[in-house]
Amino acid sequence: MNMQFDVEFLLGHMNYWLFVVLMMTGLYIVVARGNLLKKIVGLNIFQAAVFMLYISMGKISGGTAPIATGNPDEIYSNPLPHVLILTAIVVGIATTSLGLALIVRINESYGTIEEDEILELDRIKSDEEIEKLKTEASNSK
């Protein structure tokens, strides 16, 4: 394999490198952050990276916006990825707003939006449940 340092290849695929960096940044934030709000931010970065991937592949160098001008030699970008990504953006907005709404509800009932604290509260609750079952069982005996 040709391992030569190919500047043209590196620069020519700049969009894709940025896509990879953004995608991994987003995914890392989702996994590593304990704050529910920051997780949503990470998710947004992750999705935005995908938008970039799609837009990049529709681009043709020297191409204009895909509007019919009557000139058959006109070079224009592929409009299909743009259309697809419009749908994906709508889905992303819906997901974000639903996630934020859930965070509001979680904050109302738990009083925190830190994942560790929520898990701890959940654990205490399930311990209590089992404790209650045990005392009930011993009472009935």
Binding site: M23, M57, T95, I106
Partner: protein, 510 residues
């Protein structure tokens, strides 16, 4: 008139619930919303049965949206495999709605009931759409339609237990990561082929085995859908979502959502990507196969130690998904038909069990197993349903569970995989342990002193028993299901789905 309506049935099965959702919100009255949803599900069900009757002999139907010919236009394609899944989803929807009308009374505030029906219809729309579409990007859109409404439906359980909120949030994060992985995969294969129509993709992809873009696209798609299927290590969202969702929703999700996702995985593995690809066979043999076996044991063991009955059934679901994956990873027609038959049978069994548990929760208000001591005498019909459902989970002859395990064993032995068949039998033995745990609580423990508990209301019992009777009926008369799923498996395995199809409805635009 009738025939022209029927010729549009592939789009109508999706369109009717899609219209019913907003209509529910517009009427703003829960009784009207309920009847609108029932009507939409019933029509979808009848049309799906009609579609299944058309394709059960192996024909493939193609419906062009707006008459625009594929690959430019969007195409809906129906073969035996997805017609079967359509029927499963719509049957469960019809049974869930009357059940939900009663069961959500105690679980969801009255002002949210209309919203519940609207979300339910959107979820139903998404599942039907994912199943029927022949366009790869359409799969993503419908997947998100169903997932987004599922997150809301799970979160509606917060009225009773606030943990539903964190379960819904976890599901949202993991589900979105899964769906986004799926879109990345689609983007990569679109880059390599320049098309999104499944038939067109399959044609162009055959010459691209060594293309790295196509390979990574495959990886992204399988992992992304793997989250939705809850393949063993990606199943983290499932127990929480099933445990804290309202009872009716647990039953609906357990019976349909993962099944539809498994169907999408099958479709991508066997139809879109060529089965001749070496890397695909390696994925099945070295990744799916061990994960399926691990799921069968690990999830069953976890189920044994659960005190919360809904959580117990959720882990059992993860184990049952393992059986379906095992069928797929055997990479034969018999293996695939085992997966298809188990998909149908497990939908009946798990739906019935979650319905029955929901009926108990409706009466005693708790899903904890020790609280159900001695209910066998107070709620005889519900308890009997749980016993039969449990027997079907184990795979006792006379129930559907036996049929699917039998076909799966046959598929494993066909390849001389003795150890695998041993694993199937051994993991069924573990399910005896957790089913026995339930039966022991229900029948052999002394009842608690409060005598106020009576049999569950009929509107909860009837849907439960319809599914239970179904699981016995199809367990005794297995010819129909085995025959349909063999046709479906052949259609998937030999790529019949891709052959020239009979066009339904409009045509003629270029």
């Amino acid at each position: 008139m009738m025939s022209s309506v029927l010729s549009h049935s592939p789009i109508l099965v999706v369109l009717l619930p899609l219209l019913a959702g907003p209509l529910c919100m517009l009427f703003g009255n829960r009784t009207i919303a309920y009847f609108v949803s029932i009507l939409a599900s019933l029509c979808s069900f009848l049309l799906s049965v009609y579609l299944l009757s058309l394709v059960s002999d192996g024909t493939v139907l193609s419906y062009h949206l707006g008459g625009w010919a594929p690959p430019l236009g969007i195409e809906y394609r129906v073969d035996a495999a997805n017609a079967l899944v359509l029927v499963i989803v719509s049957v469960i929807s019809i049974l869930t709605l009357p059940y939900a009308r009663k069961s959500i009374e105690g679980e969801i505030a009255e002002k949210h009931h209309t919203l519940f029906y609207a979300c339910f219809m959107m979820c139903f729309t998404g599942l039907m759409g994912v199943t029927i579409t022949g366009d790869a990007f359409n799969v993503f859109v419908f997947l998100e339609v169903s997932s987004l409404s599922t997150y809301v439906l799970v979160a509606l359980g917060a009225e009773k237990d606030r943990r539903a909120l964190s379960a819904a949030y976890d599901y949202l994060i993991l589900g979105t990561i899964g769906a986004t992985f799926f879109v990345i995969g689609l983007g990569l294969i679109y880059m390599a082929t320049g098309t999104l129509n499944m038939v067109d993709l399959a044609e162009r992809i055959t010459s691209l085995e060594n293309n790295r873009t196509v390979r990574s696209g495959f990886a992204f798609i399988v992992v992304g859908m793997g989250v939705k299927v809850a393949i063993f290590p990606l199943h983290r969202w499932l127990p929480g979502a099933y445990t804290y969702a309202p009872s009716a929703i647990s039953a609906f999700l357990a019976a349909t959502a993962t099944k539809v996702a498994i169907y999408v995985v099958m479709r991508f593995i066997f139809l879109v990507f060529s089965t001749k690809f070496g890397f695909e066979k390696d994925t099945l043999t070295f990744i799916f196969f061990p994960l399926a076996i691990v799921a069968m044991f690990a999830a069953s063991f976890t189920a044994v130690y659960q005190v919360n009955l809904k959580r117990l059934l959720a882990f059992s679901s993860v184990a049952q998904i393992g059986y379906m994956l095992l069928g797929i990873s055997l990479f034969t027609v018999t293996g695939l038909s085992a997966a298809m038959v188990h998909l149908f049978n497990h939908a009946l069994t798990k739906g019935a069990l979650f319905f029955a548990i929901g009926a108990i929760i409706y009466r005693i208000g708790s899903p904890m197993l020790p609280n159900m001591a001695g209910l066998g005498r107070k709620m005889p019909w519900t308890s009997a349903a749980i016993v039969i459902g449990g027997l079907s989970l184990i795979g006792v002859p006379g129930t559907v569970g036996f049929v699917s395990k039998w076909v799966l064993l046959k598929a494993a032995l066909e390849q001389n995989y003795w150890l695998v068949s041993l694993a199937i039998v051994l993991s069924s033995l573990i399910s005896i342990v957790y089913v026995w745990k339930i039966i022991e609580q229900l029948y052999l423990q002394p009842a608690k002193s409060d005598d106020a508990i009576t049999e569950a209301p009929l509107s909860l019992l009837i849907p439960t028993w319809i599914l239970i009777l179904g699981s016995v009926w199809f367990g005794v008369n297995a010819e129909f299901t085995v025959q349909v799923s063999t046709t479906a498996a052949e259609s998937l395995f030999h790529g019949k789905f891709l052959e020239p199809a009979t066009i339904m409805g409009l045509e003629g635009r270029p």
